[in-house]
Structure formats: structure tokens, C-alpha cells
């Protein structure tokens, strides 16, 4: 009898401990406060890290943690119709945090709100160059018709957050969503608190409440996790990432490169562009000015992206060969001695000044005449995006591009098509290939994107691709969480376990 009681008590104890262990509130310290908590702006990282998939959910979700690809979220399934439109079957029994029910009318309203001319939602930018209309079939079914037909429409809808149809068109500061958390406190300048919902449709996360704090200084963010004032800082500096038990580096979705302006001599000569690529010793930067773990880039998109081409190889570092190419161009009358200006953005990424100075020195070593100019973010945009200034000299614009969306279409048109706002050249062959890749599906789509990547790197030599960057996070030992490529833009609380 006594033994049974003890055994019973032990069993009860272990059941209780497993029920109570592994859940609780956490504190997250971010570098920048959200200026808005507007769902249609959630593709901006300072907003998305707080509300994306925590408060506001999307129909579909791209799996950046594993390799499941596009996963269902508020849509249970979707299929393309014979006319090219997409039909989405919505999850039933879902409620918004204000108690109203989720249905197809909310989806239509959310999409129309993004496209409205009464506001400027950031997610609208993913729908440029197409006309899309949403038609409610019934409460749980909605059709999206796109002109031209959009093979990646389900992926695009992973960027549209769903709000109740009662939401005003103007920007809001108190988001209502279907996610596992609701906003319970926002004291501007101090904190944002999300509290777990009991009526969430999905699995209950281990995190019961998340308090977001904001500190601009990376050393302070790291110190806060060290002292227990916070449990997670998704971005700290490399210098502070000194504790292997809590600090993780992860390949983020940023790619650093020099955009070449092909319109101006001598950069209009492919030999000169090739020489630029061969004169830079990229390997020498790894573990020195660029953190170990960064990957040498052969594409403007990071490795897990569809169509990323493993056959494209980094230009070998060969200063002598670069010099020879320059000499050949010079012999043909190309003005290779013209000063070329590298335009870089102040504080764009860690060690940007030293990295650019080193690149300047390496290029000069190979015979280039390189000037270096640092500008603030607003001025940088004027150099980076069209319309380019008339009468400008030859320029290389150092920039960092982010694509964690899994598909090159979010990058390729902007960076390489003739009409792309940051494209430094115009090539009909590239335009045609981008157009065909954008319209293709499945394996054909991956194959065509691979071809685009090879074409712009090997033949066109469109730019000087440098590094796929890494970020550093500090995670308290009480949490079970590993940052991923998505951490730059979102931070799903449901992915955080508590030990």
C-alpha cells in the first residue's frame, strides 16, 4: 500500500512537473522599437519580429527552419485552377483576438486593404507589375485571380497578414489577429507585451507571454541576456558573441555586393568587370573583417533559395590575371585609368569601413584607380536606385540585399532586369530569362532561375558579389531556440521552447 502511494506520488509529481516545466513568460531585447504595429507593414523587420505569425497570421508560411517549403497556416490547402487562378480553402473555427470569426471576407478585405490607395502598405511592393483580384466563393473558400498568371501566388500570400474586415484602412497601432498571441501592452519607448491566447486555433506555444524591450546598443543587449534581464537577443555584435553556451551565429539572408554601373566607361567592358571580380581576395576577409561562417556569394540570393546554382563558382583571386585583363582592355582603347568611385553606406553592416578600404586597396593593387565615398542612408538610396544622375562617373555601389523569401523573383527583377530599380545594366537575354523564370513552376522554375544566376555571374559579370552574411544571437540557457535565416525578419514565439 505504502509503495503504491509513493509510486503514485512520484507519477503525479512527474506528470505535474512535465505539465508545468517548459512554459512561461520570456523577455526579448530588440535593437529598434516598432514605430507602428501595423499588420500590413509586418514585412518590415522591426514590426515583423513582433507581430508576424505571433499576432497576425498569413494564409501560407514558408518553412525556413526546415525544408518543408510552403506550409499551410490560415489556408489548409490551395490549388491552381485551369484558368490560372488560385483557390484557397481556409481553416475553419479560427477566431480573431477580438472574438470575431475568421472567414473569406476577412481575407479579401486584408488583401484589398494592402492594395488600397488610402494607405501605403509595404507588402504591396511584392505585387508590382500584376493585377490581382480576390473573390469570395463561400465563407471558407476564396479565389485569387492574377494577370499575368502568378505561379508563386501562394508564396506571395505568405507576406499578406490577415486582419478582420472591420479594420480601418488607415494605419493602426493595436493589431487584431488570429495568431497565438494578442497585444496586451504597448508603452512607447519602453515595452511591448504579447500575451498567449486561450482560444487560439493551433497548438499552444510554450511561451505564455513575451515582453519586447528595445536597446540600440548591441553590447547592452548582450549584457541584458547575460544578467537575466532578457532571455533572447536576436542580434548582437560579433565582438560580444563570446559565450559558446548562449551565443549562436547563423547565416542570415543578407548578401553584400558591389553593384556595377555598366553604362559608364570603363565599367561597360566585361573584361574590366571580370578584373574587378578577380582582384578581390574574398577568402582573406573571412574570419578577419567578415565573421567566420559567412559564405562567399555567387548569387544575389542566399543558398537555400530556389534555383541557387551550385555549379557557379566564385571568381578566383588572381591579381596578376586581373591586371592582364585590364591591360588588354587598355590596349583596345578602354579608359581603364578613369577613377572609379565605390559608394558605401555608413554603418550599413559591421566593419563596412574597413572592408571597403581593404577592397579599395586590393583593387588599386591590380591597377584600378579607386576612390571611396561613404554616404548616409538617404543619399545612398539616390546612388543605388534609378533614376541615376546624369553626368556621373563610373561607380560601384556597395549594398546589402535581403531575401529570405525562398524565391529569387523577390530579387532578380529589381537587381538585373532592364527596368529593375537597382539594375546597373540592360540585357535582353537576361530580361527574357527572368520573365520566363518568373512565369514558370516547379522544376522548370528552379532550372530557369539557376540559368539566370549563371548568366549574370559568368557571362554578363553583372556585379561583384561578395558575402552571404551571418548574424549573431544570444539565447538564454533556459530557452530552447536556434536562430535561422528567418530571424532577421520574423521571430515566431511558437518556435521558442522553454527548458
Amino acid at each position: 500500500m505504502k509503495k503504491t502511494l509513493i509510486l503514485g506520488a512520484l507519477l503525479l509529481g512527474s506528470t505535474l512537473s512535465s505539465a508545468f516545466a517548459g512554459s512561461g513568460p520570456i523577455k526579448i531585447v530588440l535593437p529598434e522599437e516598432a514605430d507602428l504595429l501595423e499588420p500590413c507593414m509586418a514585412t518590415r523587420s522591426n514590426i515583423g519580429r513582433v507581430i508576424m505569425q505571433n499576432v497576425s497570421e498569413t494564409l501560407t508560411e514558408l518553412d525556413l527552419r526546415g525544408d518543408k517549403g510552403l506550409m499551410p497556416r490560415l489556408a489548409e490547402k490551395w490549388e491552381q485552377q485551369s484558368d490560372g487562378s488560385w483557390r484557397f480553402n481556409l481553416r475553419q473555427g479560427v477566431k480573431f483576438s477580438d472574438g470575431t470569426s475568421f472567414d473569406a471576407k476577412d481575407v479579401k478585405y486584408s488583401f484589398d486593404r494592402v492594395m488600397s490607395d488610402k494607405n501605403v502598405c509595404e507588402s504591396e511592393r511584392y505585387f508590382g507589375g500584376m493585377t490581382i483580384s480576390a473573390e469570395v466563393v463561400d465563407d471558407n473558400t476564396i479565389d485569387f485571380k492574377a494577370d499575368p498568371v502568378q505561379p508563386i501566388l501562394p508564396l506571395l500570400l505568405s507576406l499578406v497578414t490577415i486582419v478582420p474586415e472591420e479594420t480601418p484602412l488607415e494605419f493602426i497601432r493595436k493589431p487584431v489577429g488570429t495568431g497565438p498571441f494578442k497585444l496586451t501592452n504597448w508603452t512607447p519607448g519602453q515595452q511591448i507585451v504579447l500575451t498567449g491566447r486561450d482560444d487560439y486555433w493551433g497548438a499552444k506555444p510554450s511561451v505564455t507571454e513575451a515582453t519586447y524591450l528595445f536597446r540600440a546598443d548591441p553590447a547592452v543587449r548582450a549584457a541584458m541576456v547575460q544578467t537575466g534581464e532578457a532571455d533572447l537577443s536576436p542580434s548582437i555584435s560579433q565582438l560580444d558573441a563570446t559565450n559558446p553556451a548562449t551565443d549562436f551565429s547563423y547565416l542570415d539572408s543578407e548578401t553584400v555586393y558591389l553593384r556595377i554601373d555598366h553604362n559608364i566607361e570603363p565599367l561597360n567592358d566585361v573584361r574590366v568587370r571580370r578584373a574587378l571580380n578577380m582582384a578581390i581576395d574574398r577568402e582573406a576577409f573571412l574570419g578577419t573583417l567578415v565573421p567566420d561562417g559567412a559564405v562567399l556569394a555567387t548569387a544575389i540570393v542566399p543558398p537555400p533559395t530556389l534555383g541557387w546554382n551550385p555549379d557557379v563558382k566564385v571568381f578566383p583571386y588572381d591579381a596578376a590575371a586581373a591586371k592582364k585583363l585590364l591591360d588588354e582592355a587598355k590596349a583596345d582603347g578602354v579608359k581603364v585609368d578613369t577613377p572609379i568611385t565605390i559608394i558605401a553606406r555608413t554603418a550599413n553592416f559591421p566593419n563596412v569601413t574597413e572592408i571597403m578600404e581593404a577592397i579599395q586597396a586590393q583593387l588599386q593593387e591590380a591597377g584600378f584607380n579607386i576612390e571611396l565615398k561613404f554616404v548616409e542612408v538617404a543619399e545612398h538610396e539616390q546612388y543605388y536606385s534609378k533614376p541615376f544622375k546624369e553626368g556621373r562617373g563610373p561607380q560601384l555601389v556597395a549594398a546589402m540585399h535581403d531575401n529570405s523569401k525562398g524565391d529569387p523573383s523577390f530579387s532578380m527583377f529589381f537587381k538585373y532586369a532592364s527596368e529593375g530599380t537597382q539594375s546597373g545594366f540592360s540585357d535582353p537575354k537576361v530580361d527574357d530569362l527572368i520573365k520566363r523564370a518568373s512565369a514558370a513552376v516547379g522544376d522548370e522554375r528552379a532550372k530557369l532561375w539557376s540559368e539566370v544566376i549563371a548568366l549574370v555571374h559568368d557571362e554578363v559579370v553583372a556585379d561583384v558579389l561578395l558575402f552571404h552574411m551571418v548574424g549573431f544571437s544570444r539565447v538564454s540557457e533556459r530557452l530552447d531556440y536556434k536562430p535561422t535565416m528567418a530571424t532577421n525578419s520574423t521571430l515566431q514565439l511558437s518556435e521558442i521552447g522553454i527548458k
Binding site: R125, G189, Q190, R215, A219, V220, E229, A378, T421
Partner: protein
């Protein structure tokens, strides 16, 4: 006295109007807010839509007229980035800055006067040399370095105080201590210099000859006369705190007006920039008025 206040108010109002006009047009020279609000990949149509919604496509004079009209009704406009009234955003932050400035300057003033006066009384002695060394270090040490060192020592190593943030009285200790150091260093030097000259004056010698004790000589006879230059410096230091302590706010995550102002300039959130400048300018005007009144209180020659 009332006419003095009225004259100062009118002069300050004129400066304020000039300031608003200047900042309005200068801020517009920095460029297009749409370029910073939207990502580089945003289409030209989206940028155009942003400008249209916020009235940035109108001629500059029309925008200015609208701004002046709104200001007369007490409306300083909406923040472009925060979708809420710019004045609310600024006042919320300014309250933190004001508390920080008031507490710090009160502590600095008391401490600097005591230390500076005692140093002057035994000029050349150990206390004088020691306090001179401490105040010179205080006036020269970079506050970002001091802030980080204070966090490492008091928050990480000793675990006595929180690293940053707000919420309890403990959160105020490190920011105020770091902010304290520089004005303290400067004001101690001024008090000391001013007191040395006051203590060597004829009326102090007379008081000594009459047998007045050291305490009353320092803190009643000499200090009152030595205070005029000290108050001027206190005013300067307080004004710089009212403008916001950007570095302290950044490191300690203090939601004050300094960082808000810098961020708004960098983001081209014009209405917040203007509201922040307006609020801090009014605060500095009121503080200068207070200083003028203190002069008059301390020195009958000014009063009359």
C-alpha cells in the same frame, strides 16, 4: 518684474517663430521621406502614393501655410512613421528627459557647490587638489565609455543594478550617475574659481575680522556673491540636458527626447522634428527665464 518677463516672452516668441520657419524649410531640404519610409524595391507609384497621402506633393509654401494654420489651432501634425500626433510622441519622451535633467541638475548643483566652496576655502590644500583632479577627470571623460564601464561593473560584475531600461528607481541610478559626472566636473571648477575671488574680497575679510565663523562666511557671505557666474554655467549645462542626452538614452534605453529627435531627423519625420524642437525650445526659454529671475533674486543691483 512683470514687464521684464513680458519683454523676455516677446523676444523668445520671435526667436521661436524664426526657429520654426528655419527648421521647416531646412528639414524639407534633406530630401524625400518616402525614400526612407519604403524599401528600395518599392515602386515609384507607391512612393508617389505616400507623398500624396501626406501632402508632400503640394508646393512648399502651401505645405508651410497648412502647417502654420494647424499650429495656430494647437495641432502639430501626425508623425509620418508612427501614425499618431507628433506632439503626443514628443511630450511622452520629453517627460523622461525633463525628469532626468531636473534630478541630475539638482544633484549636480548641490554637490558642485559644496565641493567647489570647500575646495576654494582651503585653496591649494589636499581637498582642493583632490577635488580639482576629480572634477577635471569628470569634465573630460567620454560619457559613452563611462556608461559602458558602469554597466560592466555595476550590472554585470557586481549585479547591483539593472543594465538599462525603466521601471524602478534602480533603473535611474546608472543613467543619472553617468550624466552627473561631466556637469559636476565643469561646475565645481567654476564654483571654485568664483569662490576664491569672493573669499579674497573685502567684505569677507571684514566678516572674518568681526569673528564670523567659517561656515556662514562660505555659505552665506561669499557664496551668494559667487553664484552669478555659477548660475550661468548651470543654465548652459541644464539646457544641453533638456535637448536630450542622446548617448545616455541610446545606451541605457531611456525613452527621452534626444534620441527621438535624432531618429526623426534621420527618418525625415518632419512633424516630429518640428514638435521636438518646439517643445525643447519652450522648455529652454522657461529655464532661461528662471535663471534671469534667480539673478535678480540674488543680486539687488539687477533687481533694481
Amino acid at each position: 518684474m512683470l514687464s521684464f518677463i513680458r519683454k523676455r516672452a516677446i523676444a523668445s516668441l520671435i526667436s521661436l517663430v524664426g526657429l520654426i520657419v528655419m527648421v521647416f524649410f531646412l528639414s524639407r531640404l534633406t530630401g524625400d521621406p518616402a525614400a526612407l519610409f519604403l524599401p528600395v524595391e518599392a515602386s515609384a507609384e507607391m512612393k508617389e502614393q505616400f507623398r500624396e497621402i501626406h501632402g508632400l506633393n503640394d508646393p512648399l509654401m502651401v505645405q508651410f501655410g497648412r502647417y502654420v494654420g494647424d499650429i495656430l489651432t494647437g495641432d502639430l501634425g501626425q508623425s509620418l512613421r508612427k501614425a499618431r500626433p507628433a506632439l503626443d510622441v514628443v511630450l511622452e519622451a520629453f517627460v523622461w528627459t525633463l525628469w532626468l535633467a531636473v534630478i541630475t541638475m539638482t544633484l549636480v548643483t548641490v554637490a558642485a557647490i559644496v565641493v567647489g566652496s570647500l575646495a576654494a576655502f582651503r585653496s591649494g590644500g589636499f581637498f582642493d587638489r583632490f577635488s580639482s583632479m576629480v572634477s577635471l577627470i569628470g569634465a573630460s571623460v567620454p560619457d559613452f565609455w563611462l556608461a559602458i564601464v558602469a554597466i560592466v561593473v555595476f550590472s554585470i560584475q557586481l549585479a547591483w543594478l539593472p543594465t538599462s531600461g525603466t521601471g524602478s528607481i534602480h533603473h535611474w541610478i546608472l543613467p543619472i550617475s553617468v550624466l552627473f559626472v561631466r556637469p559636476f566636473g565643469i561646475i565645481v571648477q567654476v564654483v571654485r574659481g568664483s569662490m576664491i575671488s569672493a573669499l579674497s574680497s573685502a567684505y569677507v575679510k571684514t566678516a572674518r575680522a568681526k569673528g564670523v565663523k567659517s561656515g556662514p562666511i562660505i555659505f552665506i557671505h561669499a557664496l551668494r556673491n559667487a553664484m552669478l557666474p555659477v548660475i550661468t554655467v548651470i543654465g548652459d549645462q541644464a539646457a544641453s540636458l533638456l535637448n536630450g542626452a542622446v548617448i545616455i538614452e541610446t545606451i541605457f534605453g531611456f525613452p527621452g527626447v534626444g534620441k527621438l529627435m535624432i531618429d526623426s531627423i534621420l527618418q525625415r519625420d518632419f512633424n516630429v522634428v518640428l514638435a521636438a524642437i518646439l517643445v525643447t525650445a519652450v522648455a529652454i526659454f522657461l529655464m532661461n527665464l528662471l535663471i534671469d529671475l534667480t539673478y535678480a533674486l540674488l543680486d539687488p543691483r539687477i533687481r533694481h
